[in-house]
């Protein structure tokens, strides 16, 4: 393990803002993409159901 303690880890040698924003926005946008696609699928299924019931 490279870090001495948690504070050290979060501080990222003084580059906390740049490092955590990079990782954070990547994680958030990928999660958002999955959630948005699940909603899109739900909408598409509902519309097909509506067409199927005529």
């Amino acid at each position: 393990m490279h870090w001495l303690n948690w504070a050290d880890f979060f501080n990222m040698g003084g580059y906390a803002f740049y490092v955590w924003l990079s990782f954070g926005m990547s994680a958030l946008s990928l999660s958002y993409e999955v959630i948005a696609l699940r909603n899109r699928r739900r909408r598409a299924l509902r519309l097909s159901r509506l067409l199927a019931q005529g």
Partner: protein, 258 residues
């Protein structure tokens, strides 16, 4: 083992197969992602020149690689759809574009967050950065062009032409750091020379790339299933799907105010 690939070459037959593959690729993405994050944030040593800021490499480089790789795969599917006049490959191209665009945005933004502390600038008009920005415009152009044409088959063909012409930009991005004097550092991994970076750093980067690769496959399968449902909603095969039939009887249009 003999698999008849043509069996899965129509939306109707590929839809259930994609559904069965989805959880495996999501599972692999999470596994590689957790391992990759552990190696890149906990195990990898400090860079002797860039301190801890270099850790941005573990999202920046995989995102940038995927942005180029997805473009090539997208253009290949689009070209196949054009050549065979088939729906499924065109749908695959359409399913990859938004994820490719997302990785391009992430590569640009994380690059900016790396450039600021290292170069003192969020952005410079350097060959690598500019050609990556053009890649973003190509993705946006592909998506916008397809959504502006009402007939899906015509939209597929027009999009395919744009995607194929745009492929020329990918080697420009890749070799830009060699061909021009740029502020951007050279290739992190070189095919001909032994890697110059620490093995742990290399492993972290490869694990993160694998995670994004598996993620891309999973998300593309998820999106292509949506596209199939949307484009073929009036076909019998969609209407008799279990997940459609299992929904309770609906009275209102989805999204309509009641």
């Amino acid at each position: 083992m003999h698999i008849n690939w043509f069996k899965y070459s129509t939306p109707q037959t590929f839809y259930p197969l994609a559904g069965r593959m989805l959880p495996w690729f999501f599972g692999l993405a999470v596994m590689f992602g957790l391992a990759g994050l552990y190696v890149s944030l906990a195990l990898a040593p400090t860079d002797f020149q860039q301190g801890e800021a270099y850790r941005i490499i573990f999202v920046h480089v995989p995102a940038a690689w995927m942005s180029m790789l997805i473009y090539i795969i997208m253009a290949a599917w689009a070209g196949l759809g054009l050549a065979l006049n088939a729906r499924l490959p065109a749908m695959m191209a359409q399913a990859l574009a938004p994820t490719g665009a997302l990785f391009t945005v992430l590569a640009l933004l994380t690059g900016s967050l790396w450039g600021k502390p290292m170069w003192g600038a969020w952005w410079v008009w350097d060959a690598r950065l500019t050609s990556e920005l053009i890649l973003l415009f190509l993705y946006i152009g592909f998506i916008a062009l397809q959504s502006s044409i009402a007939d899906p088959r015509r939209a597929d063909r027009a999009g395919a032409l744009l995607a194929l012409v745009g492929v020329v930009n990918v080697p420009i991005i890749y070799f830009s750091v060699k061909w021009w004097n740029t502020l951007h550092q050279g290739a992190s991994i070189n095919m001909t020379n032994a890697p110059t970076m620490a093995t742990t750093m290399l492993i972290g980067m490869l694990l993160m790339t694998l995670a994004l690769w598996m993620y891309t496959i999973a998300v593309a399968l998820l999106r292509v299933r949506c596209i199939m449902l949307e484009r073929e909603r009036s076909s019998a095969w969609v209407q008799i799907l279990y997940e459609v039939q299992a929904l309770p009887e609906l009275n209102t249009m989805p999204g309509a105010k009641t």
